[in-house]
Amino acid sequence: MITAALFLPAYSPALPQRADYVRVLPEIVLSVFGMVVMVMEPLLDEHKSQKLLGFIALLGALAGLAATGVMAQNPGLAFWQMVQVDAFSVFFHVLIIAIAAVVILTSYEYMAVQRIRAGEYYALILFGAVGMGLMSSAVELVLIFIALEISSISSYILAGFRRREASSAESSLKYFLLGSFATAFFLYGVALMFGATGSTNIGQISHILQQGPVPILAYAAVALMFVGIGFKVAAAPFHIWTPDVYEGAPAPIVGFMSTAPKAAAFAVLLRIVFVIDVHALFWIIWVSAALSMTLGNLGALVQTNVKRLLAYSSIAHAGYLLVAFAASPQMGTSAAMFYSAAYAAMNLGAFAVVSHFANSGERYVTLEDYEGLGRSSPLLAATFTVFLISLIGIPITGGFFAKFYVFSAAVKANLIGLTIIGVLNSGIGAYYYLRIIVVMYMREARKEVPATPVPFALRLAIAVCMLATFYLGLFPGSVLQHTQDSAQQLTQ
């Protein structure tokens, strides 16, 4: 095993070529735009700068999407085999950058209403997307760790952006302390894996582990890495931080945190589980999936704060997603990818509505405040209902097909027990989403909640999420094709 380390210098230490840069083009573009935002911020008038900076950030995200298109034309390894561009990483790049764009759109109104004036907010979203994009394309554990830190640090700061609120500071600090602790676990896992195999390159590790008996150390390594990732995706039993952090953080950022970093972390986990392919993880994932679904749903049943409720719901959804990881590599990868996309569409949409409705100081975030919303703002209530229906998993929405596909993969892998736990959970879970629909439509407003008009940017954000939700529910074919191709490439 020690000798394996000697293979390391075998890579040609040549200078990076043009192709290397093209393969991280989205990251470069996003970083440049992020820095432009940072530089422009002090130069502009404080009161007028918000819209412009947000617009630059949005342009940056769109340019990042275009750059992903260029990157997709140049598949292959880059930077001494640390970065891999394939259908898999392209999928996650598109997903993450699209999420960032929607979150930026959602934030326009929110920032104005909350009177938060800080251009670095938008820059941090872009930097976060850089880290998450890199997580999905990195095939080198140390680079994954660095990318994870880039994404986490921006999330820590973003969580604390409601500076006047104690809860936001609590949220940020809690997230930071526990998050650093968790990433340390991940790093420890990387170190042990290096000790066990003499490499930190995922492809090489897989190769080495397949050749001989798997050393005990490698089992410990993947378990520790799972702890780190499990924290990031809010999977039980590493989920305790979620409700508090989600409650305190700004609503658009919660939408961001619950979708993009999770998607990226799941991408990393997919590589660890299905490429390194150490079977020891199976039962860990099985238990974690069952726990996440059950604890998430049971926790959500008793919540009266919508943000907390959606926090528990995100724990439950992490559980459904983990079910895919216990399935066979091919279908499991594909199902997990599809679920990440569908979950992003519906959850971002839900948080877009929540962040509009919260109003200044996030005053209106309890279930009681939503009473009578169906009457006072029928359109907003109807869109929120669509997202909730999708979260329940009712047909014609992406949420239904995603759940269906995950459980289909699980049954295919003969995970009958886990499937039963899962479908039962999705039955129980329906109750608390339904509660929101019930208060919106079936109760009369008892409190005076101002109905503010929905600005254009937010309409656009909600429309994008809505279209994506329906598209994934009615015509999942093309996205499925892509996820299946990616899975093929990843697991071959």
Partner: protein
């Protein structure tokens, strides 16, 4: 098979016409009158379109007609596969027949959030039709679950005092039961690679591991259907949902939604798992019998008219289940016929109850009495429908119940004998209610000035009475299409029986 121009697309048209109408309705301005007229036009159009089905249906043939089969999603292998046979044909027409009547009966009684109401009603219609026309298990489950939200919202928004409780209870009961069906469907797909009903029906027995799992799969499907029917002891959501639902909601709930359960048993439990159906028939028949008798007895003592009708549904649907699990030609034909007859007569009963509620805002039987005097037209119509529901010969209830009981008697005489008491009970509770509401002196002064049926209400209920009579005197019009499908559904059972005789 069906050679005219419309036949290849007719099922898609009928299924999605209401949904297209609902989408257009979303764009209409909130002028209540226009919205009502538009909803009526759409639902009538759907009904006219659906008449194409029985007109061009090749009677005397088994198998599915008006087939559409297009790949929808490549992997997983999901097809947009639709078709109707004699079993589903009439359920589709029943749905399209009742919906315009629901629009009419809601014309005045729904006066708030009119737009939302009719959008939900039309969406519900699409989902209901889709349940009956789907031949792909995924598509079936898709429509099956899609009925939940519109129905729950109809109850929860437009219902009466305890509407929220009823809506949530309805939703949770049926949702939790259906996920077991989902698990069973996924198992079938995992082991066969297809959701196609026809393929599965013909090839399931030869699939490896099927024998060990069959009982669980059967139960997975059965539980989802039994809650929907509802079979005793899963019926507790029904009275709540019915009492709280708005009239149109009750009509579609009793008229069509419950039939999704019995249709599912007939199509999927019998079609996919004939052996398990046979093995489990004894306890299912007992539950059905309990449902018949218990439902009738509880109906008898209800002080609330709508609850009474709701429990009568439990009793009637017990007949359907008993007929299905008798595995006899008469029993299955009867079960189908009771489904249709119950849809017409109970739908009409709910409309009539709704008429009273609109005037007096109560369903309590004790609040009424001697209504025959101020409301003669209402009294006549109510009597016709009540007699149809009670199973008077020459009206639709009789034919179905007679066939079911003769089928049950063939299967096991004791089942027929006990089931027959249900017929007596149904006459008792319906006529007793009729007597208390309509005969004698007017007991509450306020009832003296009650308006008789308006033109609109007559238009909504009379078609039901006419159809009830027609079904009673010429059941062959319906049975000629039903019978071949029923015989086809019974093929696996006949074979087993003849093999056993051969030994």
């Amino acid at each position: 098979m069906n050679n005219d121009a419309l036949s290849p697309v007719i099922l898609s048209l009928v299924t999605f016409a209401p949904m297209a109408g609902a989408l257009l309705l979303m764009l209409l301005p909130r002028r209540d009158r226009d919205i009502r007229i538009f909803a009526l036009v759409i639902s009538l159009l759907t009904f006219v379109l659906s008449l194409h089905l029985p007109v061009y249906f090749r009677r005397g043939r088994e198998g599915f007609q008006f087939l559409i089969d297009k790949p929808w999603i490549a992997a997983p292998n999901i097809h947009y596969h639709m078709g109707v046979d004699g079993i589903s044909l009439w359920l589709v027409v029943l749905t399209t027949f009742l919906t315009p009547l629901c629009v009419l009966i809601s014309w005045r009684s729904v006066h708030e959030r009119v737009k939302e109401f009719f959008i939900l009603l039309l969406l519900l219609e699409t989902a209901l039709i889709g349940v009956f026309t789907s031949l792909d298990l995924f598509l079936f489950y898709f429509f099956w679950e899609a009925t939940l939200i519109p129905m729950a919202l109809l109850i929860g928004i437009f219902g009466h005092e305890r509407k929220v409780y009823a809506a949530v209870k309805f939703f949770m009961y049926t949702m939790i039961a259906s996920v077991f069906m989902l698990a069973a469907i996924l198992w079938l797909y995992a082991h066969t690679g297809t959701f196609d009903f026809v393929y599965l029906r013909d090839h399931l027995a030869s699939i490896p591991h099927f024998g060990a799992a069959a009982q669980w799969l059967f139960l997975g499907f059965f539980l989802a259907f039994a809650v929907k029917v509802p079979l005793f002891p899963f019926h507790t959501w029904l009275p709540d949902a019915h009492v709280e639902a708005p009239t149109a909601g009750s009509v579609l709930l009793a008229g069509v939604l419950l039939k999704m359960g019995t249709y599912g048993m007939l199509r999927f439990n019998l079609g996919l798992f004939p052996d398990q159906s046979r093995h489990n028939a004894w306890w299912i028949a007992i539950l059905a019998l309990i449902g018949i008798i218990y439902g009738a007895l509880v109906a008898m003592v209800q002080p609330n008219m709508k609850k009474l009708i709701a429990y009568s549904s439990v009793s009637h649907l017990g007949f359907v289940v008993l007929g299905i699990f008798s595995f006899t030609q008469a029993g299955l034909n009867g079960a189908m016929f009771v489904m249709l007859a119950h849809g017409i007569s109970t739908g009409a009963l709910f409309m009539l109850a709704g008429v009273l509620h609109e005037r007096r805002h109560t369903y309590e039987i004790s609040e009424f009495g001697g209504l025959a005097e101020p409301m003669p037209a209402y009294a006549v119509l109510f009597l016709v429908i009540a007699l149809a529901s009670a199973g008077l010969p020459l009206l639709n209830g009789f034919v179905g119940e007679f066939l079911v009981l003769s089928g049950a008697f063939q299967a096991k005489p004791i089942l027929g004998i006990l089931g027959a008491t249900g017929v007596i009970w149904s006459a008792v509770y319906l006529l007793w209610m009729y007597q208390r509401v309509f005969y004698g002196k007017v007991t509450h002064a306020v009832n003296n000035s009650l308006r008789d049926l308006s033109g609109l209400e007559k238009t909504a209920v009379w078609p039901c009475a006419v159809v009830a009579l027609l079904m009673g005197v010429a059941p062959i019009l319906w049975l000629s299409a039903i019978d071949p499908a029923v015989r086809a559904a019974l093929t696996p059972f006949v074979n087993v029986a003849s093999r056993m005789v051969g030994q």
